[in-house]
Amino acid sequence: MNRFDYVRAGTVAEAVGAFGDGARFIAGGTNLIDLMKYEVEKPGRLIDITRLPLQGIEEHEGGLRLGALATNAKVAYDARVAERYPLLRNAILAGASAQLRNAATTGGNLLQRTRCYYFYDAGTPCNKREPGSGCPAIGGVNRIHAIFGASDQCIATHPSDMCIALAALEATVRVSGPDGERAIPFAEFHRLPGNAPEKDTTLKPGEIVVSVDLPERGFARNYTYLKLRDRLSYAFALVSVAAGLELDGDTITTARLALGGVAHKPWRNQEAEALLVGQPATRETFAKAADLIVAEAKPQSENGFKVELARRAIVRGLEQAAAGTPQSLSDKRIQ
């Protein structure tokens, strides 16, 4: 790890004020310290934000406001989250390990970086780590990489589970920075790599996430988070599906669907969601939506399997949501 100075912030203004070139905020540290050990991150200054008064979970405009420093465990086990946003709870609990979730925070989870092997290996080129150096994942080892929305500069994926649920729930990210506060719709928070793969999000330098706000609609009856991975726990998603439906009898009235492990951001397809609305909640309907989504897939040399995996996961996820039988967190059989 490189040498750095350490500042402990007591207020958001102090944290923002302490920011400068080469500075990083640190929350749970579970991603940043890891990256520092690989010398992928070499901050000159760490601003410890864990003591900011942003740890609470509060009622907010019919929904909930999750403080940026609320840990992943705290959010997942909050009784209101379990009752009103079980999709979010399940997505969080599908990620990492209990130890990591005890440390990891809401804000840090949003800003965790890709698990692309080359990004982590400071001895290889990588456009995300060193703009302009190239992308060895293209044509290289890319089994875990994107099949949607990639560019010829970067094919990395966003690794979060929590964010996939937040995308489906259409949360809002509230940030505070040198120019004051603003609210960013979840779909606009993470970005596609395009020509600037070094930028994961639309957050500006020095801006700090202060909360994630959940709208009232929680899809608490018909939802699932289905995560497919190389081992059954403690592994990142190859493909995951967050699905939320509202039904009138057998007819779908609202549909939300976000995919993880397949793109540089939680992947949504509004056209497919629109296609579901007004249709009977049947396998045929779900297959049509899945076909529409995977029609856009552009697999890499080693991850062609993700296309069919995604198609099937979408159908199965929508079936689980429609039936009100979400994927179990402990019994790993896919129902």
């Binding site: 040498r3 350490y6 540290g29 310290i33 890891d34 760490l46 390990s97 005890n102 440390a103 019994d331």
Partner: protein
Amino acid sequence: MLLDTSPPVSADTPIGITLTINGQRRELQVAPWTTLLDLLRERLDLTGTKKGCDHGQCGACTVLVNGTRVNACLTLAVMKDGAEITTVEGLASLGERKGSNALHPIQEAFIEHDAFQCGYCTPGQLCSAVGMMGEGHAHSRDEIREAMSGNICRCGAYTNIVDAIEDVMQHGAAR
């Protein structure tokens, strides 16, 4: 052990912190880049806590910080100023027969159920199990397995580890 009197690791940027480690209050000078794991092992000679991967991927370094299980390898010591830390060396003092030299019930159960082979993952498994029981979210065998999945055992003692934990959850105080 008494207060730490060793010189600061780095002359230019040591930071004074206070930690209560296994019930003992310690005033320490640490460089900000020191992980809690390295502080425990390299400076305080508490080598019960193990370093497996140093990257959050194995759970060998699991300790309790204010009663909550975390990976000490991904924790900076300075950030835990004021916290209470329990390592495997201090588990016995959390058991019911506190004060005697008796082991914590989970330690006894691990011996009884043969829940380890090489023992490298064991301190982490033990701290993790105590943390898990405190959290109170796991009840069934499947739930214990999932809740303990952050602790890898290369010897594959998993079945017996779950047996040991189940035993303590069912008969905890009676053991």
